[in-house]
């Protein structure tokens, strides 16, 4: 009986937080279907008739669809690149002892701590000199470079924790160093890779400052830029409902992807957490 009682209490607490989390989102969805006048009349009133036009407007005039595609290209490319390079780096630093390995490790990890916008203007020159300004691959390279510290930081610990026996056996069987990494260690590290990949996906997806400066071409805007532009232009045009619709359209795909893959994501996190 005691368990039952405290369980209901737990449920109340858990449900309150769930409500707190969903309310603003539900409210955004609701507002995206109202007229501007209805939004200002009352935050919770239902729309007289759902204004799907808001969504159409956000989709067509604010090009949310194109931004979504750009974001997927850039984030996808950067994710593959940073996971590959990050895993290689972390593996080498964690499993090989060589002069300078600690310096490289701390040099990489220190990159996590620096306020990014300080590097922005010099970074612009670097990217421009390389002719990469406003290109997908330029953005992918920069995204990957800035995600590298965090990736190495987490994967380093992960590779440290992997048992050594399998790798040694592979070496004895005549496997090359690269072979050991790709055929033995990387598969063993898969759970950790997934969890770090999730961290990175979320981080890259939310990237705002880097594209702002390095991606000036509106045709190649990523979602965060597109939304900011929408929010700013809302400030000039007073199109609140269109802004909410844009927000919702931007949120939905990620939300849907999460709900679909949440089992795998959680499994990845489980593995990452256990190390």
């Amino acid at each position: 009986m005691k368990t039952r009682l405290s369980d209901s209490l737990l449920h109340v607490v858990l449900a309150v937080w769930a409500l707190l989390v969903t309310l603003p989102l539900a409210w955004a969805v609701l507002s995206s279907l109202k007229t501007d006048a209805e939004i200002f009349a009352s935050p919770w009133s239902l729309p007289a008739s759902p204004q799907w036009g808001n969504w159409v407007r956000a989709w067509q005039e604010a090009h949310i669809g194109r931004y979504l595609l750009n974001t997927l290209i850039v984030v996808g490319g950067a994710l593959v690149l940073v996971m590959l390079l990050g895993a290689l780096t972390a593996y080498c630093l964690a499993r090989y002892d060589f002069p300078g390995s600690r310096i490289i490790y701390f040099g990489l990890v220190a990159g996590m701590l620096f306020p990014v916008f300080l590097a922005l203007v010099p970074l612009f020159f670097v990217v421009d000199q390389l002719g990469l300004l406003g290109t997908y691959h330029g953005l992918i390279l920069v995204y990957a470079a800035y995600a590298l510290p965090f990736t190495v930081f987490l994967l380093h610990a992960f590779f440290r924790g992997l048992p050594t026996a399998t790798a040694e056996a592979a070496f004895i069987d005549g496997c090359s160093h690269a072979g050991v990494f790709f055929r033995v260690m990387l598969p063993m590290a898969r759970p950790g890779m997934v969890s770090v990949g999730i961290f990175n996906f979320l981080g890259l997806w939310n990237q705002y400052l880097l594209p702002l400066v390095l991606n000036p071409d509106p045709d190649r805007y990523v979602l965060a830029q597109g939304l900011a532009a929408l929010a700013v232009s809302q400030g000039y045009r007073s199109d609140f409902s269109g802004l909410f619709a844009g927000l919702v359209i931007a949120i939905l795909p990620v939300l849907a992807a999460y709900v679909l893959f949440q089992r795998q994501i959680r499994a990845g996190l489980t593995a990452g957490a256990v190390r």
Binding site: L23, P43, P115, L120, Q262
Partner: protein, 302 residues
């Protein structure tokens, strides 16, 4: 074992280090150099002024206000997020008795709790600006609906509530991710260990404190570092949400905003770089301290 070792190391490390060197290290190195100059972004040459920029920082009320606010965020955000996340994670995994893992519906909670993590900072800022709208905003509307009219206020316009309002958004958005992370860690505790403890007469709380908590230690440590970095930033939220921004009366000024303004509004590029460098060293020191303080023997469950 020796064969091809260095060839592999060089081949493996050269591309990432090249990438890192070109896009991360060199811009930062240039920023470090700028911090020692009086470059205003306009004049043909920059004068080396040594450490004068750093000396000026300590008499700049705006920078000091920003440091104070980031300090408050740093004290509150990681602690609150981790405490809440541990609590919810414990509820989700330990509730429901020892037979079942977790309370009924824990799967759904875990899905829902993660939602805020999926919103980018730009979305968060815009959304919560409306939540805090004076008069008929979401928050005031809710307070009115439950009869707490007296608590309704212009949240972001009052120096007493503006920073707490921003802090709340940070916490709101971060908790879910760590709930999922900690839940995952807690579920890695083998059932037989828990059952043995319960057989020995340990209550839920004891199980949590003695068995679960030590096992999520590593995750907590990672969370502290990650959340600390988050708390030292806050730029985007403050820039989008607050009065001024940074107001009212500098109540929500953060270092990122001071730096951004110094560089891009006043053209004091050298001075702004000095702020960034200072922030860098503060972050570095705090991280080192935090890692040292939370370092402990890893619990092995072999």
């Amino acid at each position: 074992m020796r064969h091809g070792r260095y060839r592999f190391l060089i081949g493996a490390l050269a591309p990432p280090l090249l990438l890192y060197g070109v896009f991360v290290v060199s811009p930062y190195a240039q920023a470090f150099y700028l911090a020692l100059t009086d470059w205003d972004g306009l004049s043909a040459e920059a004068r080396i002024v040594g450490l004068a920029n750093f000396a000026d920082l300590w008499s700049d009320p705006l920078f000091l206000a920003a440091l104070r606010n980031n300090g408050i965020l740093l004290l509150i955000v990681p602690t609150a997020v981790i405490a809440l996340a541990l609590f919810f994670a414990a509820c989700l995994t330990l509730g429901g008795g020892t037979k079942r893992r977790g309370v009924r519906g824990s799967g759904l909670y875990r899905i829902v709790y993660f939602f805020p993590q999926l919103l980018s900072v730009a979305i968060l800022g815009v959304l919560f600006q409306f939540v805090y709208t004076p008069g008929d905003g979401l928050l005031n509307g809710l307070l009115g609906a439950v009869g707490l009219d007296s608590l309704e206020r212009a949240w972001l316009a009052d120096p007493a509530t503006a920073l707490p309002a921003v802090t709340a958004v940070m916490i709101w958005s971060a908790v879910g991710f760590y709930v999922v992370l900690f839940t995952a860690a807690m579920e890695s505790v083998p059932t037989d260990v828990v059952e043995a403890a319960v057989l020995d007469g340990a209550g839920r709380f004891t199980v949590f404190r003695r068995i679960t908590l030590p096992l999520v230690g590593d995750s907590v440590q990672t969370a502290f570092v990650y959340l600390g970095i988050l708390a030292l930033d806050g730029f985007a939220l403050v820039q989008i949400m607050t009065v001024g921004p940074g107001g009212p009366d500098n109540a929500t000024e953060v270092v990122g905003l001071t730096l951004y303004r110094a560089a891009f509004t006043y053209g004091e590029f050298g001075y702004a770089s000095a702020m960034g460098v200072t922030l860098f060293f503060i972050t570095l020191t705090l991280t080192a301290l935090a890692l040292r303080a939370t370092r402990r023997e890893r619990v092995e469950l072999a």
